[in-house]
Symmetry: C2
Subunit: 233 residues, 2 copies
Amino acid sequence: MSGSNPSASDKPCVVLLSGGLDSATVLAYARANGFAPYTLSFDYGQRQAAELVAAERVAASLGALEHRTFRLDLSQFGGSALTDTSIDVPEEPTQGIPVTYVPARNTVFLSMALAWAEVLGANDVFIGVNAVDYSGYPDCRGEFIDAFEIMANLSTKAAVEGQKLTVHTPLLKLTKAEIIGLGVEHGVDYGITVSCYQPTAAGLACGRCDSCRLRAAGFAAAGVTDPTPYIPA
Amino acid sequence: MSGSNPSASDKPCVVLLSGGLDSATVLAYARANGFAPYTLSFDYGQRQAAELVAAERVAASLGALEHRTFRLDLSQFGGSALTDTSIDVPEEPTQGIPVTYVPARNTVFLSMALAWAEVLGANDVFIGVNAVDYSGYPDCRGEFIDAFEIMANLSTKAAVEGQKLTVHTPLLKLTKAEIIGLGVEHGVDYGITVSCYQPTAAGLACGRCDSCRLRAAGFAAAGVTDPTPYIPA
């Protein structure tokens, strides 16, 4: 299904796309399930601008109807290793919620997806949160998504007029290996995705950050050859 | 209290500030109730850039510790008379939710306030929503705010660690006249605020849009001389 043109019967949806492994899988899943996806990325002041290039590639590769990169500079607020270059990205596992947590990031991203969905007349938003092999971010949990959906359905003109929003989280309870299996099934080329928190400008992965470690372990557990371009050792 | 310097005992808070009458009143109220306010405005592609100038004036006038104008271009999505110049601002009362509704605006603005609050270590956000003399926007209702607060307290590292957020809506159940009375009590100079949906670049109000009509009626009902600079008839 991936790569084919959406048909007239497909329902519009908004897919949050980071350029990483998880959201690429979600996009392929949405396409395979009869949705016509509009993909949304954020230039939020993150270190890894390479992921924005990857998001564009992934959107084109998996049949998005339209891809937008929205500028929204969360680095103005700071408070995260991903938006503040004075905070180092950890290269060893840490206790608790790590410093790569970006304050209210998924709340902000889902709110923007909600805005675009309402203008598009779309009732479905997809996000690649995962609560199994994840970094412990509170805004990746099912209870957060459920609460967001309730709030969203009180906030918009569309909802008041009966067009209720559903936030889809197809990866929520999957292991990283299961996510990779799902993506392979739907034709995702993981070699064009970037998950690393501190890649080179060309998109080479460090292999040491939390995100690289989770990803590499996922390929190993799935029995799939890891196509990630790593920085040469 | 307004205009005085916050004391060390004051708690930090984030106040959403539009430059209009309601949010100026909220800022004065927060200061008068022992908060040290950080004010946040959005350059979201609205017609009325004059309100951003007004917001800066109001923040300075009412003792904000810091005022930020965050660029976040909702006109990229369109769908509102306030962000899309191809849609006229109505000058007569309309049925239902008017075309000046901006999709998901308060959800987006509150999400950004949540992000800044978390970085500041603030547990309080103030917003000037009102469900009495208002335009019928769904994201100005108490049930929306309550749902946002529940969602917010599942979304952040701060909340998980016990720092719960409160969203304050001191104007929710007040009439426009009561809001004006509250502001006058706390020293708000309404002559420097801009409520009009289509003011001139210099900030003169049209006197005909929904927002102007509600505001003028409020001054009349409060028995307060309307200090609004209107476009000469």
